[in-house]
Amino acid sequence: MTGTYVNTLPDNGRIIQNIIQGCDLVMSHITHLYHLSALDFINTSGYPSMGPWLPSYTASDMLVATGADTNTTANTLVLHYVQALAIRRKCHTAGALFSGRQPIQNAMVPGGVTTLFSSTMPGAVTIADSGGPFNATTTQAKFKSLMNEVRAFINTKYIPDVLTVAGAYGKFWTEGIGCQQLLAYGDYPVTAAGKMAIKRGAVEGLTKRTFNQANIREFVNSSYYTYDVLDAGTGKHPYSGVTVPNMGSGGYSWIKSPRLIGSGAASTVFEVGPLARMVMTYLCPTTQVTASENGLASADTLGTVLGLGPLASYTVTQLVNAAVNKAHHSAWVGATLLNTPLTAELGHLYSALGRHAARALEAKYIADLMAGGSDGIAPWVDQLAANGKCYTYSKIPKVVCKGYGLTEAPRGALGHWIQIEGKKVAKYQCVVPSTWNFSPLADGNPGPVEQALNNSHVGTTPTDMIVNILRLVHPFDCCIACAVHVLNPEGKETLKFAIGPDGKPSNVEIKG
């Protein structure tokens, strides 16, 4: 809506939106490494034969977790898997202080948030109280307390664990290379003027390219959709996009193929996600937003873990340099880590491990901005003004209008295009992150994940192949087509149906 008929957000609204989104991102990234990816690298056969350890595949090169109370690499990773469940909950709790609930928050509205950030309402609730809602001061204190636990976990466990996995599986720095073209819409406005913590743009290799949303095209050459005869085989910009399902179209996926034309890059295929965001921000050194590890005990900072000392102020460039250097030269400590790595080592970010690393670093950067701030600038949560305005009302215009919103979901660049007529939605098109990454062949090129699989080596035995393929696919953090379950309050399924090749429901079974 912002960009269609809503103008600017009040500062509190902007900051609280950033915080709600940031908590979701940090939660999503931690979940991704431990609960969605870790078992690609660990053989948990020493643990009881039950979920979440089963069902699983065992490849020949996995780290073996014995289940014994010994401090082996694999046993420690399993311990962190369990601890991460509590940490991701703390991310949700911290976000829900502002959004009412997480995920699927219900505070964000066009023009700001519905959050009441009052110094007196709802009264003098102390931090010891387990429930909420809390007044402004208590909310800020509780948020920092929760987020500091999360930050300590990221610094002392999440990032070191990624480095541990990288040390044991070094070949994955050169597997899953992919299209080597990145797209980030950028997000997290840190000033009213719109300066972004995550930068916007397209990248080819390590070189910036031109991005303009008007150059986005969605193709359906290999998808179960139909365009008009005149448009068949060509892409449509989302403003003129249509979603007409047709399983008989000769395609092989329900995912469309978004492509970016006119960027000056070698092809129109672009990968989105944490890697795109961190590389794009890395390539904008002069406009970077600094973050800091303020508020943490020294032992809980990544700077101390790496041998740099607590980082009172750091940029994404320094963070990426330190991590890439540490990954390739594990013995390095101190200021040497901040030197620019060899171009080849930076190039290894285009890999299965590079995607895990970028995700971990981004979780740290956003968590530090929310609760640590940087030197001279308060953390986001402390920039909020008690009793400040959180929302600006805008009237939906009667005239026909259209607009778009570009943002960053945890999985990558997210854009929605809307047209409003007679105060109602006349047209809506979403181009979501996994649509870019998991798109099928179009405009002459396979999608980013298809390209990352092609020319990778996955071994020659069936179980090795399965596990290695998962190790290449999982770093893209797929999030596609959620199912809708219709349940009654007792949790009983009430309706079951199938969507036919014509896109219409069939076999409707009302279960009562």
């Binding site: 964000m108 066009p110 105060k423 939605v425 020659t460 959620c482």
Partner: protein
Amino acid sequence: MATITIDPVNRIEGHLKVEMTVNDLSGLVSGAKCTGNLFRGFEMIMNKRDPRDAPVIVQRI
């Protein structure tokens, strides 16, 4: 050459199939295809609704 199909890919959000050809001797992958197995349809759900419903509905994606 072996054709490998993983359907569904586990530990992801959603329903995904990947299919590819793998060289038996080198393990090298070619011809990879990604298939999203579910239709989404939020564009149709949004049609003719109050635009302020959008943030509530489409965040479910």
